[in-house]
C-alpha cells in the first residue's frame, strides 16, 4: 500500500466549481439543439467560433498574466456560448468573436479572471456589441419560411420584426404563444425557446449549480412590473406573458443573473440584486432606446452588488461593531 497524505474532508457535500460550470455548459448546449435542427449547422459554427475566440483570448490573457498557457476552468466556454446565444443567427460571424474578445480581455482578465470579475463577462460583451453595432445586434431574419442558413458565409435574408421590437413600438406582437414557447419567432439565437430555457433553469436549480434567490426575484419583479405597467393596451396577464417571453429576459434571468461571481455573497443580498436587475430591465424596456437590454440591467446590478452587500451587513449589524 502506497499511502499518501491529503487534507480532509474526504467526503463532499456540494458540486465543485468546475462541475457547476460543466452543468451550465450542458444547459447552454441544450439550447443549441432546436436552432441546429431547424436552420442547419450555422448555430454550431457560431457557438464554435465564439468559444474558440474566448479560449484564445483566455490563453493570451494567461500568457500576459502568469506566463503559462494553462486554462484552469471552463468559464471561458460559458462566456462564449452565452454570447453566441444572445446574438441573432444572421449576424456575421465576427460579431460574437469581437464581443467575446471584449468580454474576456476587458471585462474578465484584467480583474484576475474567473472568480474575481466584478461584471458578468458575457453581459459586458453583449452590451459592447449592442452599443457598437446595434444594427447587427437587433436585425433578425424572418423564421416563418423554413430555410437553411449558410454555415460560414454572411447570409441574405428577409428581416422579421421581433416581439421585443413590436412591444417597444407599443404594438401587440403578432406571434402565436406556442411559437414563442418553442422559439419560432424572430429574435436572438438561443433566447426564444422559453420551454427549453425553463428546463435549463430547473436543471441548474436541482443540480445546485445556481442559487435560486436572484433569478426568482428577478423574474418576479419583472412579472410584477409588467402587470402593473403594461406597455401595450391589454390585460395585465397578457402583458406579463409577452414581456417574459420576448427578448432575452428569461435567458438573462437564468444564465446571466444566476452567475454567483458578480452577485452579492449573502442570500438576502442575492434576492435584492435580482430584484434590482429586474426593475432596471423593465425601466430600460419602458424608457430605453434598445428593444432589449437584459445585459445592461445585469451590468448595472453587478456594479451595485458590493453596495447591496454592505447594506445587508449594516442591516444585520455585522459592521462597525466588534464581535466576540
Amino acid at each position: 500500500m502506497n499511502l499518501r497524505n491529503a487534507a480532509p474532508p474526504f467526503v463532499r457535500a456540494e458540486p465543485t466549481s468546475a462541475s457547476m460550470l460543466r452543468t451550465v455548459l450542458f444547459a447552454l448546449c441544450a439550447l443549441l439543439v432546436i436552432p441546429t435542427v431547424r436552420y442547419g449547422i450555422r448555430p454550431l459554427t457560431m457557438a464554435g467560433v465564439s468559444v474558440l475566440t474566448c479560449l484564445v483570448c483566455e490563453i493570451l490573457a494567461n500568457l500576459l498574466r502568469t506566463g503559462g498557457f494553462s486554462v484552469t476552468d471552463p468559464s471561458f466556454a460559458v462566456t462564449g456560448l452565452v454570447l453566441a446565444l444572445l446574438m441573432p443567427l444572421n449576424a456575421p460571424l465576427w460579431l460574437p468573436c469581437a464581443s467575446g474578445a471584449f468580454a474576456v480581455l476587458v471585462a474578465k482578465a484584467p480583474f484576475g479572471s474567473f472568480g474575481r470579475n466584478p461584471f458578468n463577462p458575457a453581459a459586458a460583451g453583449a452590451a459592447f456589441a449592442a452599443l457598437c453595432w446595434p444594427g447587427l445586434m437587433f436585425t433578425y431574419f424572418d423564421p416563418s419560411e423554413p430555410f437553411r442558413l449558410p454555415a460560414f458565409a454572411d447570409c441574405t435574408f428577409r428581416t422579421g420584426v421581433s416581439a421585443a421590437a413590436t412591444l417597444k413600438n407599443g404594438l401587440k406582437p403578432d406571434i402565436l404563444p406556442l411559437d414563442m414557447l418553442w422559439g419560432e419567432a424572430a429574435g436572438p439565437l438561443g433566447t426564444g425557446a422559453a420551454l427549453v430555457v425553463g428546463a435549463c433553469a430547473l436543471l441548474l436549480l436541482f443540480s445546485r449549480a445556481a442559487h435560486w434567490q436572484a433569478p426568482v426575484c428577478f423574474l418576479a419583479v419583472c412579472a410584477l412590473l409588467a402587470a402593473l405597467f403594461p406597455r401595450i393596451a391589454c390585460s395585465p396577464l397578457t402583458s406579463v406573458k409577452y414581456e417574459l417571453l420576448s427578448g432575452s429576459l428569461l435567458f438573462g434571468g437564468v444564465f446571466l443573473v444566476s452567475d454567483p461571481v458578480p452577485a452579492p455573497y449573502t442570500a438576502s443580498g442575492k434576492g435584492i440584486y435580482g430584484a434590482f436587475a429586474g426593475a432596471a430591465l423593465m425601466a430600460f424596456r419602458h424608457f430605453g432606446v434598445c428593444e432589449q437590454g437584459a445585459w445592461f440591467a445585469v451590468l448595472l446590478a453587478n456594479a451595485a452588488s458590493p453596495l447591496i452587500d454592505r447594506a445587508v451587513f449594516r442591516v444585520r449589524g455585522w459592521e462597525e461593531k466588534p464581535h466576540g
Binding site: M1, N2, L3, R4, N5, A6, A7, P8, P9, F10, V11, R12, A13, E14, P15, T16, S17, A18, M20, T72, D73, G112, S113, F114, G115, R116, H211, P260, V261, A263, P264, Y265, T266, A267, K270, W318, E319, E320, K321, P322, H323, G324
Partner: protein
C-alpha cells in the same frame, strides 16, 4: 446567520445488523487487572475515582472521563447527553455500540449524571427509528434525535442550549465503559472502531484492544491493493496516516481507506455564501477569507473567528475547495494578537 449545517453525500456504511466483530490479539496479552466494583449507591466522588481508575477516555473529544466529570461537577450541567449517533457518513461505531447494548450505555449515563449532578439526561440517537427502538427498551431515559446534517452534535447542542440551558455530551463508548467499571471493576481496554471507505471490501465495526496497530484493524476489513489514503478520526475533520503501525486510541472512532485522494485543485471563491450557512458556530468564513486575502484585514470583521469548533463543515461545502477552516484559524490567531 442561522446555522444549517451540511448535508454530506451519503456513503455506503457498515451494515449495523452485522454487529461488532471482535479482533483477537495475536500475541497472548494478559487480561487487564480488575478492581473492586462500586457499590450500588456510590457517591459522585467514588464514581469519578472509578472513571479515573479505569482510565476511561471520552471518544467524542479525547478527554479523560474522570477529569471531564469533575469539571462538569464544578460547572453543574443542566443536561447530560450520551452521543449515540455518528456525525460523518462513513462512521457507525457509536450507533453500533448503542445497538449492541443500549442498557449499558444508559446505566453509564445514569452514573455519570449522578457524578456531575446533572438534573436531566438524554440519549441522543441518530434517527426516529432508533428513538422508537429506545422507547421499546424502557430504559427510563428519553431520546433526542440528532439531525442528519453535519455537524449534528454542535447543531443539536445549539438547539438544546437555545434558551440559556447548559448541556454536555458524553460518548456512548465512554458511558458503556463507565458502566463496566462500576459493575465489574473493569478498566477500559477496548474500543469500537469503524473500518470503512471505498478501499475496503468488507466494511466492519470491530472491537479492538487499545494500542492495536491501525494496520491490523484495516486488514480485518480486507483492504484493496490500491488504497491511497488512510484516514483516522473522521471523514470530514480527521487526519491521514502514512505509518500504519500507529496505535488505535480510545478516541479513534473510525479508520477510512480510500482509493482516490480528494481533488486538490483550488478555484477562487465564487461567492456562493454556502460556508456561512454551513458554519454551526456563526463564523462567516467567506468574509474572513476575503479580509485575509485583501492584505489589510480588519480584525473587526473576523466575526466569532475564535468560536470555530474545527468541524470543517465549511471545507466540506466549499465548491472551490478552499481550506476555509485554516483561514478561520489564522484569523483567530491574528485576533488574539499573534501573527497567523
Amino acid at each position: 446567520m442561522i446555522p444549517h449545517g451540511v448535508r454530506l453525500e451519503p456513503r455506503k456504511g457498515v451494515p449495523l445488523k452485522n454487529g461488532i466483530v471482535r479482533l483477537p490479539g495475536p500475541e497472548p496479552v494478559s487480561a487487564p487487572q480488575t478492581f473492586a466494583p462500586l457499590k450500588k449507591n456510590a457517591g459522585p466522588s467514588r464514581i469519578i475515582a472509578a472513571a479515573e481508575k479505569a482510565g476511561i477516555v471520552d471518544e467524542s473529544d479525547g478527554m479523560p472521563l474522570g477529569k471531564k466529570l469533575s469539571r462538569l461537577a464544578r460547572r453543574g450541567p443542566g443536561l447530560l447527553i450520551a452521543r449515540c449517533f455518528d456525525e460523518d457518513p462513513c462512521t457507525s461505531s457509536a450507533r453500533a455500540v448503542f445497538r449492541e447494548d443500549a442498557e449499558k450505555v444508559a446505566a453509564g449515563l445514569k452514573l455519570a449524571a449522578r457524578a456531575c449532578g446533572a438534573e436531566e439526561k438524554r440519549l441522543a440517537v441518530a434517527s426516529r427509528g432508533e428513538a422508537r427502538r429506545l422507547r421499546g427498551l424502557r430504559l427510563g431515559i428519553p431520546a433526542v434525535v440528532a439531525g442528519r446534517r453535519y455537524p449534528a452534535g454542535i447543531l443539536l447542542m445549539r438547539k438544546l442550549c437555545r434558551n440559556g440551558g447548559r448541556a454536555a455530551f458524553l460518548g456512548a463508548q465512554a458511558c458503556a465503559a463507565l458502566a463496566d467499571a462500576a459493575r465489574e471493576g473493569k478498566p477500559q481496554s477496548e474500543t469500537v472502531v469503524t473500518v470503512a471507505g471505498d478501499g475496503v471490501r468488507r466494511p466492519v465495526n470491530c472491537r479492538v484492544r487499545i494500542g492495536t496497530p491501525v494496520e491490523k484493524v484495516l486488514r480485518l476489513a480486507k483492504p484493496e491493493e490500491d488504497v491511497r489514503i488512510a484516514a483516522v478520526g473522521s471523514a470530514v475533520a480527521g487526519r491521514t496516516v502514512r505509518d500504519l503501525s500507529l496505535p488505535v486510541t480510545a478516541a479513534t472512532r473510525c479508520v477510512i481507506a480510500l482509493r482516490d485522494a480528494p481533488p486538490e485543485r483550488r478555484y477562487p471563491c465564487i461567492r456562493c455564501g454556502r460556508c456561512a450557512r454551513a458554519c454551526p458556530a456563526g463564523v462567516i468564513p467567506w468574509l474572513v477569507y476575503r479580509e485575509l486575502e485583501s492584505g489589510d484585514p480588519d480584525p473587526l470583521l473576523f466575526f466569532h473567528a475564535g468560536d470555530c469548533a474545527g468541524c470543517r463543515a465549511c471545507n466540506a461545502v466549499c465548491p472551490s475547495g478552499i481550506d476555509l477552516a485554516a483561514e478561520v484559524r489564522r484569523a483567530a490567531a491574528r485576533k488574539e494578537g499573534g501573527e497567523g
